[in-house]
Amino acid sequence: MEALTAIVIGGLTAASVYLMLARNFMRFLFGLVLLSNAANLTIFASGRMTKGHPALVPYGEDAPLGVVGNALPQALVLTAIVIGFGLLAFTLALAFEGYRRMKSVDTDEMRFAEPKEDTTK
């Protein structure tokens, strides 16, 4: 299971780097989504994957019975997903507004805050 997860994380990261190297800002954003999923899976996997029961305390007991899965990474991933979701929503809105004003999603043409590159050379 660990090996499979590791390969998935690697694949996601590779795909995200490929996308993020593109000039198109939307492709960059999709790469960012993949990278954030890879990061979340990393946290999940590093909490050790056990075939156990959910970390719940049965009624009438003081502690969970038997082997339970590590609940902390799940809580961390959940937090990271929620935060990532919020940031992504903001970034999409920003990209849309940027496209509306600048009429482009090509990062080479988005040169309003920085001086334009000298292309005559």
Binding site: M20, F25, F28, L32, L35, S36, A38, A39, T42, I43, F44, A45, S46, G47, R48, L72, P73, L76, T79, A80, I83, G86, L87, F90, T91, L94, A95, E97, G98, R101, M102, T107, M110, R111, F112, A113, E114
Partner: protein, 499 residues
């Protein structure tokens, strides 16, 4: 004890809520101002408690460390919280003069107070994942503040700033996950021992590099700083001042914390890299500044250059160097925020920030000229201003280690900083205005000038005080450095047991 640690975070958050509700009324800005004053008081109480007891810690919701979230303040955290509150107050006053009503109605003050809360939280937390959460609070507020008011320039800057910062955050997040995998803990004090006892020290060093890259982007060190000069010259001056003062310093703080508390297993490797990174940061920053002719762009590049001195203090890893690093952090926040404030007022008077299109400020606004001289020459390291002592400590630390090249670069960068500062002085203040007009203070309404000059004068006064009476500040930095290099107190206070 816990309320002392919670208040500096809770007050700005509450202020943000109230300011958001009152955003369409003039009361909103006064609520923000009152909130900043209260935050400063709360930070002063925290500082008093830390001075009294050394290190203080509080377990949130009474979950004992290392299981719950710990808030902890040692000397470094406490001074950063105080300086954050001071910058926050100065900006809240400055914003009264600069921020137009329609921007206020968009919730400017709520975002600003959230930013302050996020920064303060990052300085106070003792839990690595919680640090990530504070980073995000700070980031989302800063994203919005950067683009608020709109315009092509700001959106362009915002997109680049957002993109690079999000990538760095994800690197940081993956690092946290993997470090948790090795150590089984997220509490930074608990992590110290767990990392030292980890079987696979090679992996620890790899993770150290991941954290160095993640925090390095935030701190804008070479070669990860490209988002900074692309964005810091576009937002409102109040915002670029608070960004310049605080945001990159959170990255430096996080580096200082992690590379003194947790990643100290292979100092010869990690800190050697930091030395080279610092030198290149200092040098590229100052050279970049020399090529610019815009007031704020010059200052932006100088942020990068000065960050190098702070990380150099960490990289040399001696008590004296760290002491210099801490002193530098505090000095730099005051001075750099102030220079951006001055740039804003200069624009009000002269109409532009491009140095080729303004001039004559010395003749028509001598008070502003005098107030520019203080932070500018402090930045360049002129005695007896605060920057001189900061640079003196770092250079002395390098000399004690017989690192001649490091000393040479530090002094050279100081010299080149003078070049940029005199360039601004010559072009904005001495040279006659190219349009042949006198930039008069009358061009700005008197209430605007008043709101802007008060924080500038206040911060300049602090620069002078630190410059003329460095003794208590240096002693404070010395204790902070001692605590960083020997975090036994920190660890025992957080965990509540002898290690």
């Amino acid at each position: 004890m816990s309320w002392v640690l919670v208040m500096p975070i809770a007050v700005p958050f509450l202020t943000a809520v109230v300011a958001f509700l009152a955003r369409s009324y003039p009361a909103g800005r006064w609520i923000s101002l009152a909130g900043s004053v209260l935050t400063l008081i709360a930070s002063a109480v925290l500082m008093a408690a830390v001075l009294d007891e050394g290190v203080i810690a509080a377990q949130m919701s009474n979950w004992d460390a290392p299981f719950g979230i710990t808030l902890v303040a040692d000397y470094l955290s406490a001074v950063m919280v105080v300086i954050t509150a001071i910058t926050g107050l100065a900006t809240a006053i400055y914003a009264l003069g600069e921020i137009p009503e329609e921007t206020e109605a968009l919730g400017f003050y709520a975002l600003f107070q959230t930013l302050i809360a996020g920064v303060t939280g990052a300085f106070l937390t003792g839990d690595l994942f919680n640090l990530y959460v504070w980073f995000e609070v700070m980031l989302i507020a800063s994203f919005s503040l950067l683009v608020i008011g709109g315009g092509k320039e700001r959106l362009d800057a915002g997109i680049k700033y957002v993109a690079l910062n999000l990538v760095s955050t994800l690197i940081f997040l993956s690092g946290i996950g993997l470090l948790y995998g090795i150590t089984g803990t997220l509490n930074m004090a608990d992590m110290r021992d767990a990392v030292a006892n980890a079987e696979n020290q090679g992996l620890v060093t790899v993770l150290a590099m991941m954290f160095m890259v993640g925090f390095g982007v935030k701190a804008a060190v070479f070669p990860l700083f490209f988002w900074l000069p692309a964005s810091y010259h576009t937002p409102y001056f109040a915002i670029s001042a608070v960004f310049a003062g605080l945001l990159t310093k959170v990255g430096v703080y996080a580096l200082m914390r992690m590379f003194t508390l947790v990643f100290v297993g292979d100092v010869g490797f990690t800190h050697e890299i930091l030395i080279w990174v610092s030198l290149l940061t200092m040098f590229t920053g100052v050279i970049g500044a020399a090529a610019q002719t815009d007031f704020r762009k010059i200052l932006s590049f100088h942020i990068i250059s000065q960050i190098g001195y702070m990380t150099l203090g960490l990289a040399l890893f001696t008590p004296l160097a760290l002491m210099g690093g801490v002193f530098y952090l505090v000095h730099h926040i005051i001075v750099k925020a102030n220079l951006f404030f001055v740039a804003g007022l200069a624009k009000q008077y002269a109409g532009h920030t491009d140095l080729n299109r303004i001039g004559g400020l010395y003749k028509s606004a001598p008070l502003l000229a005098a107030l520019f001289i203080i932070p500018a020459f402090s930045l360049a390291g002129f005695p007896p201003l605060s920057g001189f002592w900061a640079k003196y400590l770092i250079v002395k630390a390098a000399l004690e280690l017989n690192m001649w090249f490091v000393t040479f670069v530090s002094l050279l960068v100081g010299l080149l900083t003078i070049y940029s500062m005199t360039k601004i002085w010559g072009m904005a203040f001495w040279k006659p205005h190219p349009d042949g007009i006198d930039p008069t203070p009358d061009r700005a309404p008197p209430q605007v000038t008043r709101a802007m000059i008060v924080p500038i004068a206040g911060l300049a006064l602090m620069t002078i005080i630190i410059g003329f009476y460095p003794e208590p500040f240096v002693q404070f930095a010395e204790t902070a450095a001692t605590q960083l290099l020997d975090p036994t107190d920190y660890v025992t206070t957080v965990l509540g047991v002898q290690p």
